[in-house]
Each structure stands twice: as structure tokens, then as C-alpha cells.
């Protein structure tokens, strides 16, 4: 196999593991009182952000959801600045004013997480509209949740993108639940990619836990978007590996599904790719993981030592607002 394929598979796994370990460590920080507010972990959905972002250029754009850490990390966010934001520190991405639900990096075309389910989709339409007006070879990926496919903000966006033929890829992260409500109870058509056809949008459903499947599909759509064939919709089937947020034990999740997805974990699948397709050993993988863990540990130390915005600085900030 080619060297670059090996490197590429390693990079995919590294990103997924980074997200996994980031969330796990951040949850500990939450339990220890360092992080407050809402925190929706991306655990179990790592392959989606990883696969899609790997298929994009960094002059493209993303919009994220309330479950947004994974998208930021897969897009390449600096771990230190991310932790700093989650801890509400002044050197965080948003100076500690945004936090988990509003983390973003506008300087790097990451339009950020959104606390209102579905409301990121119209923003993505706008970014794609700007591209289309400027006639640039860029595209936008809009991550949206299954819950948002029942919401007007998303549905209008799907139609607008289609009416205006925008370079936009909608990525539905269908983890099958909105908090405790099953998607089957939220809609008459739980195969969510089928929404697309009704608006003239080419759509597909795939295994969102298989990073290669996600990557390969996204790669194609990203290219076709840039060729002016957009928009597209890909529904990535997945499952939360945790409660809805840090304080939700998720007891309503049925045991058989939980068990199934324990074996169908995106990281297990990623490991299989590494061993079967790239010939890595268990030790090689452990090395990758250790490296990531060390990096995350450093980032946490950095964040914990970072100062919060002073009252004085804040009031100055408020004044010019």
C-alpha cells in the first residue's frame, strides 16, 4: 500500500482519538468544576466530523451544532485555545464569552457551534451564497442533527440551497435521539436523507461510524459542490456514546442499541482500518494514542493556568459593544 494512504489513515485515526480523549478529559474537568454550563459530548460520533473535514480544504467553511467540539477539533482547532474557551478563559477562542455551545473560529472559516438546534443551517446557506456571488471555488459543510430535520430552519435551508444551486453539503448526524425522544416519534419518515428528494437535493444515507465511508462520500460531494453541482445531503447514521449532556445518564437509551454501538464504535472501526489496511500494530496505535493524550494533557495544563477576563476588561468590552 502507498505511504500516503498509511499516513492518511493514521491522520484520520489521530483526529478521532483526539476527539474521543478530548471529550473524556473535558468531562472530567466538568466533574471537577472547571467547566460549567451545557456540555454535549461528541462521543461516538467522531467519524463524521473527522471524515467530512478531512475531505475539505481549509478555505472552505463549516457550521456546527450544539454538539460542536468534534467539528472544531476535526477542522484543526488548537487544543489549548479550545480548552481555554471551555474553561471560560480570556485566551479561549471567544475570550471565555462563548463557551462550549458557541465555540467558533471565524479566522479559520469555522462558523461555530450553535445553541439553537437547526439555526446553523441558514448560516451555511449564507456562506455558500457568498461563495456563489464571489464565484469562488469553495464550498460549505453544514453539520446538522437529526432533531433539526424536523425544524423549519433546516428545511427552508435545504430548499434555498437547492433553489440557488449552492456549493453546500448538509451532513445529518443521525444519532437517532433528540435527548430522550426517538427519531421515529419525531417524524413520519425516519430515513432522514429522504427529505432531500422533496427539494431536489441528491441525498444518501451511510454508516456514520465508518470514517472511510464518510470520507469517501464526502470527498465526492465536496468536489461536485465545487464543480457547481451542489447542494448535496448525506445522512450519517450514528449513536451517542453518552447521555445527551454531561449531566444526563441517558438511561432511556435501549440496551441493545448501546451494546450494538459498543462494538460498532468509530474508533474500533478506525483501528481496524489501521491494522487491516495500513498494517499498523497494536503498539503503533498505542503510540499514536499516547502522543495525543500527552498533547491534550499539555493543553489542559495550559488552560487551567490561563486567566479569566478581568471585570475591568469585560466592562471595557461591554462599553464598545
Amino acid at each position: 500500500m502507498k505511504k500516503n494512504t498509511r499516513d492518511f489513515l493514521v491522520s484520520l485515526y489521530t483526529t478521532m482519538y483526539k476527539i474521543r480523549n478530548f471529550e473524556e478529559q473535558a468531562i472530567k474537568l466538568y466533574r471537577d468544576g472547571y467547566i460549567r454550563g451545557y456540555f454535549h459530548p461528541y462521543l461516538g460520533e467522531e467519524a463524521i466530523a473527522t471524515g467530512v473535514c478531512a475531505a475539505m480544504d481549509r478555505k472552505d467553511y463549516i457550521t456546527s451544532t450544539h454538539r460542536g467540539h468534534g467539528h472544531c477539533l476535526a477542522w484543526g482547532a488548537d487544543l489549548k485555545i479550545m480548552f481555554a474557551e471551555l474553561l471560560g478563559r480570556e485566551n479561549g477562542f471567544c475570550k471565555g464569552l462563548g463557551g462550549s455551545m458557541h465555540i467558533a473560529d471565524y479566522t479559520k472559516n469555522n462558523l461555530g457551534a450553535n445553541g439553537i438546534v437547526g439555526s446553523g443551517a441558514p448560516l451555511a446557506v449564507g456562506a455558500a451564497l457568498g461563495i456563489s456571488i464571489r464565484k469562488e471555488r469553495q464550498m460549505v459543510s453544514s453539520f446538522v442533527s437529526d432533531g433539526s430535520t424536523c425544524n423549519g430552519s433546516f428545511l427552508e435551508s435545504l430548499n434555498l440551497a437547492s433553489a440557488w444551486k449552492l456549493p453546500l453539503l448538509f451532513v445529518i448526524e443521525n444519532n437517532q435521539y433528540a435527548v430522550s425522544t426517538r427519531i421515529e416519534d419525531s417524524t413520519g419518515e425516519p430515513e432522514l436523507y429522504k427529505r432531500g428528494a422533496g427539494f431536489g437535493v441528491e441525498s444518501i444515507r451511510l454508516d456514520g461510524n465508518d470514517v472511510l465511508e464518510v470520507y469517501n462520500t464526502a470527498k465526492l460531494y465536496v468536489k461536485r459542490c465545487k464543480n457547481g453541482e451542489g447542494p448535496f445531503l448525506m445522512e450519517c447514521l450514528t449513536f451517542r456514546k453518552s447521555g445527551h449532556h454531561v449531566n444526563d445518564p441517558g438511561l432511556y437509551l435501549p440496551k441493545e442499541k448501546v451494546d450494538h454501538y459498543k462494538l460498532h464504535d468509530p474508533l474500533l472501526i478506525g483501528k481496524k482500518h489501521l491494522t487491516e489496511l495500513a498494517g499498523l500494530s497494536g503498539k503503533d496505535i498505542l503510540e499514536i494514542e499516547n502522543m495525543v493524550m500527552a498533547e491534550i494533557k499539555d493543553a489542559i495544563d495550559f488552560a487551567i493556568k490561563s486567566p479569566e477576563m478581568s471585570e475591568e476588561n469585560f466592562l471595557k468590552f461591554v462599553e464598545e459593544y
Binding site: 471560560g88 471567544c94 438546534v117 437547526g118 423549519g152 419525531s186
Partner: protein, 334 residues
């Protein structure tokens, strides 16, 4: 009589008081039903609807998809056709998705129809700052509803008020916006076992006083209570007027208190600019100008969204010591 006294000493939480109101009204009238996100099996994010599904079944207690505009409109349509829906919107911030249905539909039908249509809908929602929920989950937006003719607007601060007012809201034939506060749900207070109703439009004097009238509602009331204790210690006797319902507004209680104390402080959690406090100030000023010994003072939130950082969060809304300070300014006319 003895039992009565015993019963009246029962203390329950704000969220349980709301729960009782829902249960009693649903048992009384089978046209009452409730829908919202995670309110059935899960019992609601703030545990207000626990046990309703079991008692009243899935036809009258059910979860909705994340279609706030659609299911609010569905509540209105059901109300127009004889039902009495209670619709829950998890955060008042999300009501920004439903204003067409509330402002252009629910609030207008009675008038537009020449009084032939009525919309007995209760929209329960929850607002205010607390616990680092940041800019999109920490707003106090009552002013937006206050300005719309055709809506009633209720914001209780205690378990007793919450129960009595929610029952009244459900029996009201007009749409009622019923705003709870995220930090009040676990607060305890006396709630009698026997049934009672608090009519909409009656303020409550939470404490008598002679030097200063402090007007507040919802989450600010407990803070004002704390502040008033400190003021008492410093020889300032403040009267607390808890508005409880903003529409209808109990002008008479306000004006009478102002005439007595001649000094007014309005404390509001919402941003200062264009809040309900401004309107109350303008009313006092138009109707009791000659009694005012100093300007009506408003202590409100800063004109910014709510920051995520917890220490900064405290800066943007009135805290107890801010209320103490503002009270003194109001009394000494600084």
C-alpha cells in the same frame, strides 16, 4: 382548624407547585393537554411534568419534535377548536422561533374575528440567567410579549404564586405567556394542600415598607428580599411589590405604594434598554408625578448578551449588593 394550620405549613418546591397545578387542572378538565420537548416520559428538563404521562396518558401528555413554530401553532389551532393546550418551550430564547404564531396568530384572533374566536392557550417557558448557559440560553425576553396586545403575561416568583397563577392561566380564555425562572425551580415555599387560584393581574406586596417601593418580578424577587434585609439593618424600610403578572398590570397596587413611599426602584433582570421596567417607570411618572420625591430608578441588566464565564455572568444582571446600592441612591436621590 388545627389541620388547616398544619396543611398551610406544607412547603414544596416551585417545580412541584407547577406540577400540582397541571395535575389538578388536567383532572378537572379533559380538554387540557400538554406538549413539549421531553415532557412526557422524561418529565421535562426541570421536572415540572413528572408523573403526568402516567396519570393522563399519551394522548394528553406527549413529546414534540424540535418543531417549535409548528407545535406552538398546533397548540393555537387546538385552542381555537375547543381544547385548552399547555405548550412548553424549553427556553424563552427558543420562543424567538415561534413569535409569528404568538404575535400574528394567537394574540390577534380574538380581535381580528370580532370576538368570535378565543385562544385559551398557555405557553409555559423558562428564562433568566444562571449556571453559565451563555448568550442563547440566558435571556429575559418578557418585554417582547409585554408589548403585544392580546397576550397575558405571568412571571411568578414563589411556589405559592406559581401554582395559583398557573391554574388561573389555564382557565383564562386568552393566550397566556407563563414564564418561569431557571433558578427558582428548586426553591421551596408554603403551598396549602387545598385548592386555590390567584387571579391574573394582582400584584403581591411581599413585604411592607415606608421609605421605598421596590418593584420586581420572577428571579429578582428573592434577590430583592435579601437586599431588603440588609436595608432594614441600615434603617431603610423598603416595600416589595412583586408584580407576578405583568399583563394585566396591577397599576393600583403600584401607584398606592408609590404614593406612600415617594421613592421607587424597579429591579429587572432583563437588559435595561427597553425592558418592562421602563414602561412601569413611565406609568408611575405619568400617574404619580407629584408624589415622586426622586426619579424612578431602574436597575436592570447591562445592554449585552450573557457571557459564558461565570464570574462575568454575575456582572451583567443585578446582584443583591447592586440592589442595596441602588435602593440607597433612590432614597437619597443620587
Amino acid at each position: 382548624m388545627d389541620t388547616n394550620i398544619l396543611i398551610e405549613k406544607r412547603e414544596i418546591m416551585y417545580r412541584d407547585a407547577l406540577n400540582e397545578a397541571l395535575k389538578e387542572e388536567m383532572a378537572r378538565d379533559d380538554k387540557v393537554f400538554i406538549m413539549g420537548e421531553g415532557i412526557a416520559e422524561r418529565g421535562g428538563s426541570y421536572k415540572v411534568t413528572v408523573g403526568l404521562l402516567e396519570q393522563f396518558g399519551g394522548k394528553r401528555v406527549f413529546d414534540t419534535p424540535l418543531s417549535e413554530n409548528g407545535f406552538t401553532g398546533a397548540g393555537i389551532g387546538a385552542a381555537l377548536t375547543g381544547m385548552r393546550p399547555v405548550v412548553e418551550i424549553l427556553f424563552i430564547d427558543f420562543t424567538m422561533l415561534i413569535l409569528d404564531q404568538i404575535v400574528n396568530q394567537a394574540a390577534k384572533f380574538r380581535f381580528m374575528s370580532g370576538n368570535t374566536a378565543r385562544v385559551p392557550l398557555v405557553l409555559r417557558t423558562q428564562g433568566g440567567v444562571g449556571n453559565g448557559l451563555a448568550a442563547q440560553h440566558s435571556q429575559s425576553l418578557e418585554a417582547l410579549f409585554y408589548h403585544i396586545p392580546g397576550l397575558k403575561l405571568v412571571m411568578p416568583s414563589t411556589p405559592y404564586d406559581a401554582k395559583g397563577l398557573l391554574k388561573a392561566a389555564i382557565r383564562c380564555d386568552d393566550p397566556v405567556i407563563f414564564i418561569e425562572h431557571k433558578l427558582l425551580y428548586m426553591n421551596k415555599g408554603e403551598v396549602p394542600e387545598e385548592e386555590y387560584i390567584i387571579p391574573l393581574g394582582k400584584a403581591d406586596i411581599k413585604k411592607d415598607g415606608s421609605d421605598l417601593t421596590i418593584i420586581a418580578w420572577s428571579g429578582m424577587v428573592p434577590k430583592v428580599m435579601e437586599a431588603v434585609k440588609i436595608l432594614d439593618g441600615e434603617g431603610i424600610s423598603a416595600e416589595i411589590v412583586d408584580l407576578r403578572s405583568l399583563v394585566p398590570l396591577d397599576k393600583m397596587t403600584i401607584i398606592n405604594s408609590v404614593k406612600k413611599t415617594e421613592h421607587v426602584l424597579i429591579v429587572q433582570e432583563a437588559v435595561r434598554r427597553g425592558g418592562v421596567g421602563s414602561d412601569i417607570s413611565s406609568i408611575i411618572q405619568e400617574e404619580a408625578f407629584d408624589y415622586l420625591d426622586s426619579p424612578v430608578k431602574i436597575l436592570g441588566g447591562l445592554n449585552v448578551p450573557c457571557p459564558f464565564n461565570l464570574n462575568l455572568e454575575k456582572l451583567v444582571i443585578p446582584q443583591t449588593d447592586d440592589i442595596v446600592r441602588a435602593s440607597k441612591e433612590a432614597v437619597y436621590n443620587k
